[in-house]
């Protein structure tokens, strides 16, 4: 069944649940970059991010039979990604990437953007690199809240839903993240 160009994520997922493989392609195209970057920012390892990324989408594919519209699709998708990430973190619990450790140092160096964007000025590119570096220094939860907002377009309620915390907790994490990023970028303001 062909889908309209502006079909909602939810209707595309329902169409895929009912056997429309083309609907999945559309959904994947919309969210592949955001989910990948979310995982990449959180685990900060490209190879691991790819592995987790594949797991997230395969979990979605396998769970399609039971899919029902209970929330925004992006919330549903980022919840899957968050859960997969938490599984990964639990497995490597011995490492310093504890969710409770605010001072945990990054395992890998922050991932720099790969593709060159000619239209962006050198100054803007430098600001972007600075921002990503600051982001990499944020605690996992605060970074997660910021990236979910930017990549998934999730609201506070949706971030709270996807990460399994209260709205106030999500709000607090996001505020802290923004405050630290603003502070780090103060020299550019």
């Amino acid at each position: 069944m062909p889908q309209e160009a502006d079909a909602s994520d939810e209707s595309l997922m329902l169409a895929y649940r009912d056997g429309d493989a083309g609907a999945f392609d559309r959904l994947y195209e919309r969210h592949r970059g955001g989910v990948y970057r979310y995982l990449l920012r959180q685990c900060r390892n490209a190879a691991l991010a790819e592995e987790l990324f594949q797991d997230v989408w395969m979990n979605l594919v396998r769970a399609r039979a039971s899919y029902a519209v209970q929330a925004k699709f992006s919330t549903y998708l980022y919840r899957i990604a968050h859960n997969r990430l938490m599984d990964h973190f639990r497995r490597r619990d011995a490492l310093v990437l504890s969710l409770d450790d605010e001072n945990a140092s990054p395992v890998d160096e922050p991932v720099a953007p790969s593709g060159a964007q000619p239209e962006i000025t050198l100054e803007a590119r430098a600001q972007g690199a600075q921002l990503l570096a600051l982001l990499g220094k944020l605690p996992v939860e605060q970074r997660e809240a910021f990236v979910m907002q930017q990549e998934g377009g999730l609201s506070l309620e949706e971030i709270a839903d996807a990460t399994g915390v209260s709205r106030e907790t999500a709000k607090s994490r996001l505020r802290y993240a923004l405050a630290k990023l603003r502070e780090g970028m103060q020299s550019w303001r």
């Binding site: 895929y16 994947y28 970059g33 990948y36 395969m58 039979a65 790969s114 990503l132 303001r189």
Partner: protein, 260 residues
Amino acid sequence: MALNSGNDREHDELLAKRYREAANEAPPVRLDAAIRAAARREAGAGPRPLSRLRAWRVPVSLAAVLVLSATLVLMMREEGTDQLETAVEPVSPRAVAPERPAEPQALPAEALTPASPSRAPQSRAQSPAADIAPPAPLVAPQVEQKILAGNAVPPESSPEPRLEVAAMAEMARPMMSAAPAPAAADSAAGRMARSAPAAATVALAAPPLWQDLIDQPADKWIQRILEWQRAGRSADAEALVREFVRRFPQQPLPPEIRQP
């Protein structure tokens, strides 16, 4: 270019813009292809496991019904063979006498007249004198008709036993109709009497041809046999002879009685 502030506490437009410009990583193309291919495979794999179960439900049900039916038929056949080999214990009609409708003490005159071809078997079953009316060549169909007619059910019986009897008679029909001898019919009736008391009550509630002779001496039986033979009711007479021989095994039959 300097970053400007002036945003709310949960959103910063300029930070968002810088982030969007900086964050442009994407998954490798090979990963895209692998995920899309897996998704297509899953979508093209047909129904999901739940639907697969649903699709198998009908064939599995049909197979189960067939197996159960075949098993039941085989069991009934085996039981029928056993009954043919073992002697059938006669059930005393006195035991079911209270459930039986009032029976005529003497045969109506019309019952003794020769058989009329126009009389339908169903009307026989509905008539109180049906059991002494001209019978079918074999006794087995008689028993079957009595059961199927449902008139033999006493008034106090509930509808459920009647249905049960009809169902049992339906199941027993192939075997009973295939039985060449009356013994087979008796065996089938006896088997049903043992397996379902209600069915036995119903089956025995229909008075046999020799109902009024049960307490009579042998000479009365002989007299009745001769009467029926003279009246051309050979099938009834033969059935009566068989019952006579069973009841009075030591009693010799007169030479004028034709033995079946």
